[in-house]
Each structure stands twice: as C-alpha cells, then as structure tokens.
Symmetry: C2
Subunit: 196 residues, 2 copies
Amino acid sequence: MVLPSNAPTSEEADARVRALDAAEGLFYERGVRAVGMDDVRDRAGVPLKRLYGLFGSKEDLVVAMLRRRDVRWRGRVTAHVRTHADPDERLLAVFDWLLEWFGEAGYRGCAWINIFGELGATSDAVVDEARAHKAAFARDIGVLVAEAGRPAALADQLVLLAEGAMVTSAITGTPAPATTARQAAAALLAAGGPAP
Amino acid sequence: MVLPSNAPTSEEADARVRALDAAEGLFYERGVRAVGMDDVRDRAGVPLKRLYGLFGSKEDLVVAMLRRRDVRWRGRVTAHVRTHADPDERLLAVFDWLLEWFGEAGYRGCAWINIFGELGATSDAVVDEARAHKAAFARDIGVLVAEAGRPAALADQLVLLAEGAMVTSAITGTPAPATTARQAAAALLAAGGPAP
DNA sequence: CCCGGGCGAGAACGGTGGTTCTCAGCGGCG
DNA sequence: CGCCGCTGAGAACCACCGTTCTCGCCCGGG
C-alpha cells in the first residue's frame, strides 16, 4: 500500500523473512522432522521452488533459522540484563529473564537443546549450530561475570544452572526452575565465587 | 549350549530383551525417527511380527525401553553413590558418576532430554515418560539431601546442576561440565544449603 | 505317517516427505 | 506487438517407514 506496484523492499528479502518466520515457528512447535517443507510453504506463503532457491535444502533452512534465532535470543537476554546497573544484579537478571521466557505461551524449552536431541546424531551442521550458540551464550555470561569482577569459573557454573533450568522447565512444564536457579546463583555469588 | 534343545528360559522373554537392547542402542545412537523398525529387527534378530506382538507399536517400544533404562540408569547412580559413607560425599559422588558417564564411548547426552526434544511435541506417552524419569531422579537426589540433613530446596538446585551438565556435555562434546557442576555443588554445600 | 497350527522371512500396502519437474501466465524489452 | 525468461502452483518422482499380510516351513499330536 505504501508504494503502488513495485518496491516491496525487495521481494526476495521479504520472502526470506517469511520463510524463516514460518520455519522457526513450525520447527519449534512440532520438531523438525514432523514438519514438511509443504507446511513451511503453506505458512510462509512462499512457493517450494523459491524456498529451495533461497536455502538449498531443509537442513540449510534449519541452520539459517537457528542463526537468526541466535542473534535475537541472545539480544533479548542482553537487553533485559542491561536494564540493571549493578553488575551482580545483572547476573541474577539473567534468571529473571528466564522466568519470563519460561512463562511465555507456547514455550517448549530451548530450541537448540531440542534440535540437538532430534538431529544431533544425524546432522553435523545442526551440531555445529548448537555448539556455536551455547558457546556464544557462555561467552555472554562470561562477560557479565568479568564485569562483576568475579572469577571466570563462576560463569560456567551459572551457565549450567541456566541450561538445567531450561531443560527442567521444558520437561516438567513449569517455569519454577528459573526461580530455583536464581536462588542457587545468588548463593554462589554470596559465597564469593569459586576459588577466590 | 547349557541346555540341549528347549529351555531357553522362555523364548519370548529372551526376544523381548534383545528387542529392548536393540531399540535402546539404536534410538540412543541415531534418534528415534531416524531408526526404522526394520533396523530394530535386524539388530535384535527378532522378526517384525513378533516385535509388534510384543510391543504393539513403535511408540510402545520406545516407552518400554525408556522404562527399563530408567531403572538401570538410576540404579547405576545409586550404586555408585552408595559406595560412599559420608552423606555430603554421597551428594558430590553424583557428579563424580556423571563425569564417568560423560566419558563413556558413545555418550550422546541424556536419553530422556534427547527424546523429549525429538518427540515431546508429538507424543504424550514420551512426555509422560520423560517427566516420570526426571521426577524420579529428583526424588532420588531429594533422599540423599534429606539423609545429609540439608534443606530440601538444595535438592532442586543440585538437580539443575546435573541436568545442565548433561546437556552441556552432550552439546560441547566434553565431560568437563561434570567437574564444573561438582564444584558448584560443593560451593552450595559449603554455603550451608539455601535458607538455613 | 499325516495333519494342523504357530512362526519366521519377506513382500505388500498406504501414507509421507524432500526434492525436482512441468507448464501456463505474465511482465519487460526490443 | 511479439517474444523471452522468470515465477508460481502443483504434480511428479523416488525413497522411506510403520504396520499388516502371505506363504512356506517345521513341530508336536494322533
């Protein structure tokens, strides 16, 4: 409507976005193998031919959507954390954000953990993506720990609490593990971090 | 060889065991959907007809193998933990055992977490099994925590560390998270457990 | 020795899914 | 105005899989 006939800010880019949106939603809701490319086409409104022109294969589509989700997901965490000024508060704010996330409608656990469970044995590309995402998350936490002047080893411990909270909330179906993890994190902070 | 012609301690029970062994190995190695019933038949040496006679469906086979694995897996943890006398040592021994497990050849993470990621969205029976297993594990830890005279809330925190170690070791491909988790657990113990 | 029933091996069936192909329509360019 | 190349819609292709069926074999009982 903004512009009459052409100028849809590149039809191709638009189709790509719709395809990634559809793929991300469907794969997260139902799992990768349970979703057909036809399903992606139907939800995205992008024909099969273009889908394959854009991504080459289903596996590539999975990888592309994981890449995009990685920057958005970590961006959300970082954005929330940055609303706090105190460095220790920031560390705990990670778990506050997890609590919010776990409570969202349609929450079904960590997309990378789920996809790793489903495809980790068959797709090296997916394994790489999961590894990269978890490494990046660990790095993000590492930065926060460093900014708090805490020992680096604390970061790995906090990551384990976060990962544990993600799986446990997904399987049990309650957001409570975020609160448990927060309490444990606070206790570790109060103890001064490992090996001072 | 032990007995000439008959007395195979019930052919049916034997076939059932072989089927469960094959299913457990294959599903863990490759994922459930990547393994066909034909593959199970080939590895188990049990004909398709009998497989369906014994289990009814692939989903039932998955559930049956998860049930059997649950008692064995938790039995292994408990057995290792019981080799220690001191109640605090027992809590930490859980993480020592995880380290051993993570280092085993073919380790690919927690079977329930993986299967939940793969089938959690499509099979209620599998979700129930994962929930039951994780609840039982949490109960086991709860008993150890109680025996150590520690506050009950500590159990949930230790469980998160264990679950986090399982996913992280699986995705990163190293057993190190078990050590990290053990250190965090020790710190929590040293802090006296939550809300004393 | 003959008969019947259960069992194993493998074919068959119905459905699905990733990927490619066909073909008709359409917009742009000469 | 006519042609060309691109595109979308959907069929087609091929492989796979869960489940069931067929059939020939073998075993025990009369």
